[in-house]
């Protein structure tokens, strides 16, 4: 990646203040995708606060978040970890050639019952 993504960029995109986190771990206690992720919701909060953006950008974890808002709903301090995951993912796919989902792969994964909603959502999440 050409441009270095800074902590400030992530905070600006997400609107999240990671300092509100009191390190309770409820986000990672409730996350349904925890086992699929290399970095977990609480780590997104810690690592962004510590400026460790690079490993997050490279991690496949950003495509495993279900955007189910469980961590947002249940965080006792209103930190909204999902918004950090989204901001990191955007920082990646907004760069040229970094689309995670490409239109040409769609026919392979399509099945007759799949609702349109799944396809448009996936494009929103994975491509620019």
């Amino acid at each position: 990646m050409e441009n270095k993504v800074t902590k400030e960029t992530i905070l600006r995109i997400s609107g999240v203040n990671p300092r509100k986190c009191m390190r309770c771990g409820k986000c990672s206690g409730t996350c349904p995708s925890y086992d699929e992720m290399e970095y977990h919701p609480h780590q997104f909060v810690y690592m962004v606060e510590n400026g460790e953006i690079e490993p997050l950008l490279k991690s496949k974890s950003i495509y495993k978040c279900l955007s189910c808002f469980a961590c947002v709903e249940r965080c006792p301090r209103d930190v909204e970890p999902a918004k950090l995951v989204e901001a990191i993912r955007l920082a990646v796919i907004r760069q040229q050639g970094e689309n995670h989902l490409k239109p040409e792969t769609i026919p392979e994964v399509l099945n007759a019952d799949l609702p349109q909603q799944a396809i448009v959502s996936a494009f929103r999440k994975y491509s620019k």
């Binding site: 997400s14 995708s33 469980a70 709903e73 609702p115 349109q116 799944a118 448009v120 959502s121």
Partner: protein, 264 residues
């Protein structure tokens, strides 16, 4: 009583029954859904980033159009509802987003979140009233043990959706009771089915849907009712050995009101 109505992309294709039974039932219950003359896909998932403007515009157009019609905006699909209600909240509370969206759209009258967004279920509960519905039921679904499946998007984030207690909701259970069936409460009713990740990694949604079905079965659920086409798909794709049919709540409503062809 008339409402502006935003069906969303999937209700025009894969989830036609969700839409059709909703309209049929609405007429029977004394309200009309007037489909917005022009609407575009909401995008299926709420763009959480503060600097995402373009991806919110289709929702803003729908909202402004309902405002201009002087009507509340009714949605049915959980995902559309989630996106449009959250964008509406941004237009009310986030000056920057509202400014940029309005600059871009150049509407005749700026939009600042004036429209009230209602889920079809909210219309049933707050406008018609579940008691009234119960009175109009001609074919009560007696003896059916139905689990409400809220999924993740219908109620969360609770502060924005303001539809029901996101951790201990009652709206679908009350609905199930109103149509004469027996609601069965189970813990996974507000957990995610796996959502759009199914496209790339069906294994995740298999696990997530499996966990929902397992808990529903454990709790004595014989049928699941949902408001979301993607939930329906994920749960149906991954039966994991559980023989629990998953249906749209509007289909059950139409059946109870005696509007479903082939029903009795």
């Amino acid at each position: 009583m008339k409402f502006s109505y935003y069906p969303g992309c999937t209700l025009k294709t894969k989830a036609k029954e969700l839409d059709r039974y909703a309209r049929l039932s609405a007429e029977a219950l004394g309200f009309t859904l007037e489909e917005l003359p022009e609407w575009q896909c909401c995008g299926g998932t709420y763009p959480m980033a503060k600097d995402e403007i373009a991806t919110k515009l289709s929702s803003v157009r729908a909202l402004a159009s309902a405002r201009d019609a002087g009507q509340d905006l009714v949605t049915l699909c959980s995902a559309c509802h989630n996106v449009i209600k959250q964008v509406n909240s941004d237009m009310q509370n986030d000056e920057n987003i509202a400014l940029k969206a309005n600059n871009y759209l150049q509407l005749e009258e700026e939009y600042h979140g004036e429209t009230r967004v209602l889920h079809y279920l909210e219309v049933l509960r707050d406008v018609v009233g579940f008691d009234e519905i119960a009175k109009k039921v001609t074919n009560p679904l007696k003896g059916r043990k139905i689990g409400a499946y809220y999924g993740c998007l219908l109620l969360r984030p609770g502060k924005v959706m303001q539809m029901d207690n996101p951790e201990n909701p009652a709206i679908l259970e009350d609905f199930i009771r109103a149509i004469g069936a027996t609601p069965v409460k189970y813990a996974m009713r507000n957990e995610c089915c796996g959502g759009y990740v199914t496209l790339e990694d069906p294994e995740i949604s298999r696990k997530k849907s499996g966990a929902v079905l397992h808990n529903a079965k454990d709790s004595g659920v014989e049928m699941l009712a949902t408001a979301c086409p993607l939930c329906l798909y994920n749960l149906n794709q991954n039966p994991d050995g559980y023989d629990i049919p998953v249906v749209y709540f509007t289909e059950l409503l139409a059946e109870a009101l005696g509007l479903k062809e082939g029903g009795n």
